[in-house]
Structures are given as structure tokens and as C-alpha cells.
């Protein structure tokens, strides 16, 4: 079955696959994680705030993003962004936004919705009694958050954030639909150029598997180490 398996095509294309493809995949993952977390924290704070307008906006944003397939959002933002850019800088024609820039913005905005839900769940996972006990010894809202709620919430959500980052890493492969050279895009271009679909796709699967499997192994270890004995 693997008798006419051409290992050489993989070997030959390694530099292209990793220096171009994987480099973009990792860049996109890193940027979307960092900015997604920042934006997600803001959205979670809006959601938990007492202002009905802010929390209403946060709820709608999160629900909207979470109901739509990422592929659709990638397309939508890709086409939308030139016009948004035009509107922002008041230009008289649509702004050029390349596919790469567009996906970075898309993933940040999309993942922010998921990260904000993780943060909210983390904060709400801290029992109400803990908040009460904090107030009862005389802490104010900020101090209760800083010393009682967030340290516990953070322990609860850190593994989930990492797991979501692994999911994000896998999801970046969807930029394929914009014909971007991420890792899968690179593999696919080689596959079609050389007519070696079997080799290239199996190799891509293996690489993704090894990375995600290793990462989730460490997340599990981390989870055991930082979990709180209750």
C-alpha cells in the first residue's frame, strides 16, 4: 500500500513547509492568542459589568461569533475589511488589505469571543461564598478581585486557555480558503504541483498531530500541578 510512497518529496519541500508555512501558522497563532486574550478580557469585563449596554453588547458579540462557522467569518472579514478601512480613514476608495493582514484581524476578533467566555466562566467558577468571605474580612471590590477571585479563576482557566490555543492552532489551517501559504497551504501547494497528495497530506497530519499531542500533554501536566485542593 505504501510501496510507491515518495518520501523524497517531503524531504525536498521541508524548508518551504516550515520556513514559510509553519512560520506563518505559528505567527498567526501567537498574534491571535495574545490579542485575542487582551480583547477577550475586555469583553469579559464588559459582560460582567453592571452596565446593561456594555454587557448587552458583549453578549451579542460573543453569541454572534460563536454561532458562525469560522470559514464564513474568514470570507466575510476578508471582503469587509477594505470597506471598513475606507470608512475609518475616510478614503474615497476601498483600502487594500492583503489576505494575511485580513486573517490576523479575523482570528483575533473571532478568538476574542471564545477567550472572553473562558474568562467569564473562570471568574464565575469561583463560588459566591468566597466573594462574601473576602468582603467579610473587609476587602473592597478591587481587593476581592485581586486577592480572592482572580488567583482562583486564573488557576481554573489557564489550562482551558492553553487548550483553546491548541484549537486555534488547528483552526489556522482554515486560512487555506484564502489560498494563504500556512503549513497546510504549503503542503497542499507542493501536493498539487508534484501530484503527491497522499504523501503530503499524511505528512501534514503527522506534523499537526505531533505538535498538538505534545502541547496537550503538557497542558494536562500543568492542570494537575496548579489545580487547587478543595
Amino acid at each position: 500500500m505504501f510501496s510507491n510512497f515518495d518520501y523524497d518529496v517531503i524531504w525536498r519541500s521541508l524548508p518551504y513547509l516550515f520556513q514559510q508555512g509553519m512560520a506563518f501558522t505559528l505567527t498567526l497563532t501567537a498574534i491571535a492568542t495574545v490579542f485575542g486574550l487582551i480583547l477577550g478580557t475586555l469583553i469579559a469585563m464588559m459582560r460582567l459589568s453592571s452596565s446593561a449596554v456594555l454587557s448587552g453588547f458583549a453578549v451579542s458579540y460573543v453569541n454572534l461569533m460563536r454561532s458562525l462557522p469560522l470559514v464564513l467569518v474568514i470570507f466575510l472579514f476578508y471582503f469587509l475589511m477594505p470597506y471598513v478601512g475606507q470608512w475609518i480613514i475616510r478614503s474615497d476608495q476601498p483600502v487594500q488589505v492583503g489576505a494575511y493582514a485580513s486573517t490576523i484581524v479575523t482570528f483575533t476578533l473571532f478568538e476574542a469571543a471564545y477567550f472572553s467566555e473562558i474568562m467569564r466562566a473562570g471568574i464565575q467558577s469561583v463560588p459566591r461564598g468566597q466573594v462574601m468571605a473576602g468582603y467579610a474580612i473587609g476587602l473592597n471590590y478591587r481587593e476581592v478581585m485581586r486577592h480572592v477571585v482572580l488567583p482562583q479563576a486564573f488557576r481554573n482557566m489557564l489550562p482551558v486557555i492553553f487548550t483553546q490555543t491548541i484549537v486555534l492552532f488547528q483552526d489556522t489551517s482554515l486560512v487555506y480558503v484564502l489560498s494563504i501559504t500556512d503549513f497546510l497551504g504549503a503542503a497542499s501547494k507542493v501536493a498539487q504541483r508534484d501530484g503527491r497528495l497522499t504523501e503530503m497530506y499524511l505528512f501534514a497530519a503527522l506534523v499537526y498531530f505531533l505538535i498538538c499531542f505534545t502541547a496537550s500533554f503538557f497542558v494536562k501536566r500543568l492542570q494537575k500541578r496548579i489545580s487547587i485542593i478543595r
Binding site: 462574601m132 468571605a133 468582603y135 474580612i137 476587602l139 488557576r155
Partner: protein, 245 residues
């Protein structure tokens, strides 16, 4: 002037549901008052209103001459001087026992790390848990955790103490180690408001007993009167139920 005054206090969780109905009572300095009543009658809610952990919609509550119902900025300071012990201990699980005891001292009272630690160890000795100072709450038994929780309140040098069913989440063999600490506190003259069903404790140290039902203070009597001849039917029924064995 009483240490705690509760006057015509009413509270609603939502427009249809009134948990507290026009409650009025007072706790004198050095007095021990036991609050009892069927589950869901509003005991926990009432005791939490005393340090404004639960807001109220009507009435006034005064602690040490200060109106807590209208207080805003100074609330944390006041709360730090009212010790509170919860049914489920509510120790902070991410902090060691000694850190649990130091948190409020350093942040709220502004004590130095060393002074806070010294005070914490003194209180741990008092509740007999010095050996566990460096452990986490999850590594202690329920009775030990509750004694730590009492110590956490005591390190703040409280002017009065509130207890919300401190023994009802404990296994029977651990109830006494917690009650012993409380009895000792009462004997030292601490002002205490205690929600509990431990009638032995009430008979031993309480001055007064308050009986609540459906959000109302049905009976507010001296201990001897309450146990000797309760006036209301509801209190009689309640007593006969919990004293029947």
C-alpha cells in the same frame, strides 16, 4: 447603646419574594444571641445584612453606632471589625492557612507582614492548629477548617462576631471542637450573633434566643423563657421537632 441594632428591616430578592419581613431586634455588648428557625426562614439572610453582605430595601441596621445600611466608603473598614464565620468555612483555597490569616491584616488593617504573622500564629495556637500553619485549607478536616475560619475572624480584633450555622456542615465528631472554641469566646465576653440548631450550645451560653419563621422574627426571648415556655405555636413545634431525641 446596643452593639447591633436591627430595626424594621425588610428585604426582597425579587418583587414577589420577601425574605425578611419587618425584622426588629438588638444585640447588647457582650451578649450572646442564638438565632434559630426552620430552613429557608431567612436566618442566613438576616445575619448577612448585619455587615451589609446582603443589602436591604427597608429599615436600618446599626453596628457600634454606625449605620451600615447607608454606609458606602467605610464599609470595608467596618466589616473588618465584624467577624464572620460561614457554614462552608470559605477559607481561600489558594492560600496557606497562615496566609489566610494574614490577608486581611496586611491589606485592610495595614499591619506589617511580621506583625500579621505573629498575630496569626497566636490565634492558631489558641484554636490548637499551630502545626498546620503551612498547609492549604483542602488538606485539613472540616472541623479544623472551621477553627481556622474562626481564627481568621479573630485576628482582625473584631468588636462582635457573626456565625452562620458554623457546625451544620461538619461531621458529628467535629462539632464539639468548634463549639468549644465558641463557648470560650462567649465566656470572654465577645458579642456574638449565632445562627445554629445546637440547642445544647444555646442552653449553655446564650443570653437570648430569636426564633424566625418565613422571614419574620416570631419570638425574641430570654433563653430561660424560650426553652421554658415558648409563646408561639410555631416555636413550640420547632422545639419539639429538634429536641425529640
Amino acid at each position: 447603646m446596643p452593639m447591633i441594632t436591627i430595626e424594621k428591616v425588610s428585604k426582597w430578592y425579587n418583587p414577589q419574594f420577601q425574605v425578611l419581613k419587618n425584622c426588629t431586634t438588638a444585640v447588647e455588648k457582650g451578649e450572646v444571641v442564638v438565632v434559630c428557625g426552620p430552613s429557608g426562614s431567612g436566618k442566613s439572610t438576616l445575619i448577612k445584612t448585619v455587615n451589609a453582605l446582603e443589602p436591604v430595601q427597608a429599615g436600618t441596621i446599626m453596628v457600634d453606632g454606625l449605620n451600615v445600611t447607608t454606609m458606602k466608603k467605610d464599609l470595608p473598614k467596618l466589616r473588618s471589625r465584624v467577624g464572620m464565620v460561614f457554614q462552608h468555612f470559605e477559607l481561600f483555597p489558594h492560600l496557606k492557612i497562615v496566609e489566610n490569616l494574614c490577608l486581611g491584616q496586611t491589606i485592610v488593617l495595614g499591619r506589617s507582614e511580621d506583625a500579621a504573622k505573629a498575630k496569626a500564629m497566636k490565634m492558631l495556637e489558641r484554636v490548637g492548629l499551630t502545626a498546620h500553619a503551612q498547609k492549604y485549607p483542602g488538606q485539613l478536616s472540616g472541623g479544623q477548617q472551621q477553627r481556622v475560619a474562626i481564627a481568621r475572624a479573630l485576628v482582625m480584633d473584631p468588636i462582635c462576631m457573626l456565625f452562620d450555622e458554623p457546625t451544620s456542615a461538619l461531621d458529628p465528631e467535629m462539632i464539639n471542637e468548634v463549639l468549644d472554641v465558641m463557648v470560650e469566646l462567649a465566656k470572654e465576653g465577645m458579642t456574638m450573633m449565632v445562627v445554629t440548631h445546637e440547642m445544647g450550645f444555646a442552653k449553655k451560653v446564650a443570653n437570648r434566643v430569636i426564633f424566625m419563621d418565613a422571614g419574620e422574627i416570631v419570638e425574641d426571648a430570654q433563653k430561660e423563657d424560650f426553652f421554658g415556655h415558648p409563646r408561639s405555636d410555631r416555636a413550640q413545634q420547632f422545639l419539639s421537632k429538634i429536641l425529640s431525641h
